[in-house]
Each structure stands twice: as structure tokens, then as C-alpha cells.
């Protein structure tokens, strides 16, 4: 069964956030993630999608499945052409936890995902990349390696 390679979602208004995370959840469940992990992924998508809206106005989110021999994962890349982040370290600090102002959704997203990185500079927009992995059990690895040979 082929899983679509890439899901491209435009974020232009807050009505786009719920569908974006629903797609994230669907992709995660398709890949066999537990309900909990699918929720974590969906929540992380919600955080960075809102981050786009608040700081850049528009942007997009790309969801992708990732496959390695021992594990599979959901990759989420959020991109905007907004003003960029001057001080990434400061942006990732608290202000998020206590809810002062709106806070950036980035520290939250990082806590929910396994891999997380930000590429940003003033005037150059922001790209946030994150991945959540799921370890495949022995039977799955056996099945998929066999399918690879079969093709």
C-alpha cells in the first residue's frame, strides 16, 4: 500500500490549523504510531502552525513519512517567509510555559518531538524541522525487507 510521499499544507488563517493537525494524525496512524504519539505529533503541528500565523501571517507545513531499516517516522517541516527570529535561543526559552503574552509554540513542539531544529535569521524567514520516530518491531522489519526484495 503506497503512502503518499508528501502532504503540503498552506497555513493562511487559523482555520487551517485543525485540518493540518488532522492530516498529521492521519499520517501517523497510517504509519502505525500509537494513539498517544499520533496526538503528540498533531499537537506539535498545531504549535508550529500557529507560530507561523502569529509571527509571519502565512506559511506552509510539509508532512512526510520517513523510513529507515529499524524505524519509521513522521517528518514535519514548517516554513514561512516572515521576519525571521533574531535570537533563536531566547525564542526557545520560557515565556512559553507561563503563558506570558502568546509565547512561541516552538519550545512546546520541541518537547513533543524526537528531533527538532530551527533555521532562521532576521529578514530570511523561518524553517522549523521536526521528526518523531517509531521503532519497528522484529516482525515488521522482516515483512518490509521481504517486500523490498520482492519488488
Amino acid at each position: 500500500m503506497a503512502i503518499e510521499a508528501e502532504h503540503h499544507i498552506s497555513i493562511t488563517s487559523d482555520d487551517d490549523i485543525v485540518p493540518a493537525r488532522a492530516e498529521g494524525r492521519a499520517l501517523a496512524e497510517q504509519l502505525g504510531f500509537s494513539r498517544i504519539d499520533a496526538t503528540l505529533i498533531a499537537t506539535a503541528i498545531s504549535e508550529i502552525a500557529r507560530n507561523i500565523l502569529v509571527y509571519a501571517g502565512t506559511g506552509d507545513v510539509v508532512l512526510e513519512s520517513r523510513h529507515e531499516s529499524g524505524r519509521c517516522g513522521v517528518s514535519v517541516v514548517a516554513h514561512d517567509s516572515g521576519p525571521g527570529i533574531c535570537d533563536i535561543d531566547a525564542a526557545m526559552k520560557e515565556g512559553f510555559a507561563t503563558g506570558d503574552g502568546l509565547g512561541l509554540g516552538l519550545p512546546g513542539a520541541r518537547r513533543l518531538m524526537d528531533e527538532f531544529s530551527i533555521d532562521s535569521a532576521p529578514g530570511q524567514g523561518t524553517t522549523v524541522s521536526m521528526v518523531k520516530w517509531r521503532v519497528r518491531d522484529d516482525l515488521e522489519r522482516l515483512r518490509s525487507s521481504r517486500n523490498g526484495r520482492g519488488r
Binding site: S34, I36, A97, V135, L139, L142, R143, R146
Partner: protein, 300 residues
């Protein structure tokens, strides 16, 4: 055989046609020799000590069916029927304890028995023999792979079903009385198991409307940092769902480990042993002791 030899000149351009005509002849021969070849195959199976769990008459009827399906697959080149048969066979023999190496073994033995008989029949004409093998071998090997894979697929399916059934049957969360659950944890905890226990605990809190949960870790010798954090997270999540979590059986070793790790222990409401924990839980349920809702909620 004459018809094939007459077409020598057209061999290259008509390669597929010759192959299929040759294949038809081979198949006709193998059907003709069915009784003798099946018999030989069956005795080779017994010599190799395969299918020990099956009785002789079972082996007889299974080898008869496999032989026919095998030759049909050779003829048609279609493995669907063979796959279906292999799945069906697997469903029957897996519960009997037949192993993968046995299934592969018998299919390969059949391949060899048939190959040998073709050798004997065509050995006087080496060129023809070569073409016979060119036709036979790919088909036979495809069959071997198909049967092997079907068997393994079926085994995996059975194993998964059994695993799911075991998981469903094993309920680590026990309801002591209305509103009170116990989760006794025994043995080593790794992240995977810890996460699974958390899921089951929270699902039980929701389904059974629990107010107090006693998590007993008397049977846990050591925990690492990840699991320790997991435990604290479970306590917080339980509280978010409106229940209070009590830890019992927290050894001094683990307590020290938690402090050393810098784990937020203010979240942990710990009572010495399980018995004490249950008594404390009863008092919580009777509201003689304040529940968590009167205290600070989950500060980061």
C-alpha cells in the same frame, strides 16, 4: 520431442513459444508420472525427518494435493492458486507445530525429485536437457519462494493475533473497589513498557471512573532517568484526568536515584508499602484527607 527439435532454426525468434510448448510437455510427463514421483517425494520427506508431527496418511494426502498444485503452477505460471493453497495449508499445519524449515524443506525436496526425473528423461540429449532446465528451474524456484513466503506470512499473522490476545487478557490494572485502582509493577521497566502501562492506567481511570490510583513499585529494583520521568509524567497525567496517584513500595535506593537525577519529586505522593497505600487511599476516598484538586496542579 520431434516437434521441438524441428523448430531449432526458429528458436531465437520464437523463444517464448518453444518454452511454453516444452513446458507443456514437461508438465504432461510429470502428471503421467504422478504416482511414482509423489511416492518418491514422500519417502524423501520421511528420510529427512520432516513433518514428524503428521501421520503417514496425512502426509499422503497433503503431498498429493501439493504435487498437483505444484504441477498446475508450473503449467500456468500463475502462482495465485499456489499461494491460496499454501495459505490454506499453513493455516492447518501451523497450529500443529510445523516449522518454517520443514515447509521449505519439503518444497525443495519436491523440486529436486522432479528435476532428477527430468534429468533421467532428457539426459541423452544435452542441448535439450539444457532447455528443459531453462524452462523448469525459474518456474520451480518461483514456486518455492511463493510457498515459503506464504507460510512465513501466515505464521506472522498468527503470532500477531496471539500477541494481541495476550495483551488484551493481561490487565495489569486492578480495581479494588469503586473508584480505587491498583497498578502493581513487577520486573524491569523500559520506556516501551512504561509507556504501555501509562496508556492502560489512564484508559482504566477513564473507563472505571477512578478517583485514586495506587502505583506499587515494590517489585521494581531499579529505574533509569527516562523511566523516572515517565513515572512523574504518569502521575501528572493521572491528576489531569481528575484522579490522585499514590506511589507505594518506593525503595530508598530508587528514592535516592530520583533525587540524584533531579527528578521533580514534589509531585510524588509516596506511602511506604502497598497495605499502607490502600489505607491512605481509603481515607482519600472518604475525603478525610485532601485530594490533589486542593493542591497546586501541574507546575512545570
Amino acid at each position: 520431442m520431434e516437434a521441438i527439435q524441428a523448430d531449432t532454426a526458429q528458436r531465437r525468434s520464437d523463444a517464448p513459444a518453444i518454452d511454453s510448448a516444452l513446458l507443456r510437455e514437461l508438465v504432461a510427463y510429470l502428471r503421467q508420472e504422478r504416482a511414482a514421483l509423489r511416492e518418491e517425494w514422500a519417502s524423501r520427506i520421511t528420510d529427512a525427518h520432516l513433518l514428524g508431527v503428521m501421520a503417514p496418511d496425512e502426509i499422503f494426502s497433503e503431498t498429493m494435493a501439493v504435487y498437483d498444485t505444484y504441477v498446475d503452477a508450473l503449467e500456468t505460471g500463475s502462482v495465485e492458486a499456489l499461494q491460496a493453497y499454501a495459505r490454506d495449508l499453513s493455516e492447518r499445519i501451523i497450529p500443529r507445530g510445523v516449522e518454517t524449515h520443514e515447509v521449505l524443506g519439503i518444497v525443495l525436496l519436491l523440486r529436486d525429485v522432479l528435476a532428477r526425473s527430468l534429468f533421467v528423461r532428457y539426459e541423452s540429449d544435452p542441448a535439450l536437457l539444457a532447455r528443459v532446465l531453462d524452462s523448469y528451474e525459474p518456474a520451480a524456484n518461483r514456486i518455492a519462494v511463493t510457498v515459503g513466503v506464504s507460510f512465513v506470512d501466515e505464521r506472522e499473522r498468527v503470532i500477531r493475533e496471539q500477541q494481541a490476545a495476550i495483551r488484551e487478557l493481561s490487565t495489569p490494572v486492578l480495581q479494588v473497589r469503586d473508584g480505587l485502582l491498583i497498578l502493581p509493577i513487577i520486573g524491569g521497566l523500559d520506556t516501551g513498557r512504561a509507556r504501555q502501562l501509562t496508556e492502560q492506567l489512564l484508559a482504566s481511570v477513564q473507563a472505571l471512573r477512578a478517583k485514586v490510583v495506587v502505583i506499587d513499585i515494590t517489585g521494581v529494583a531499579t529505574i533509569d532517568l527516562t523511566v523516572a520521568n515517565h513515572l512523574v509524567q504518569t502521575i501528572k497525567a493521572t491528576r489531569l484526568m481528575g484522579a490522585t496517584a499514590i506511589i507505594t513500595g518506593l525503595s530508598s535506593e530508587i528514592a535516592q536515584t530520583l533525587v540524584d537525577f533531579g527528578v521533580d519529586v514534589s509531585m510524588i505522593r509516596s506511602v511506604g508499602d502497598l497495605q499502607g497505600g490502600l489505607e491512605y487511599a481509603e481515607r482519600l476516598l472518604e475525603h478525610t484527607v485532601p485530594l490533589d484538586d486542593d493542591e497546586a496542579s501541574l507546575a512545570g
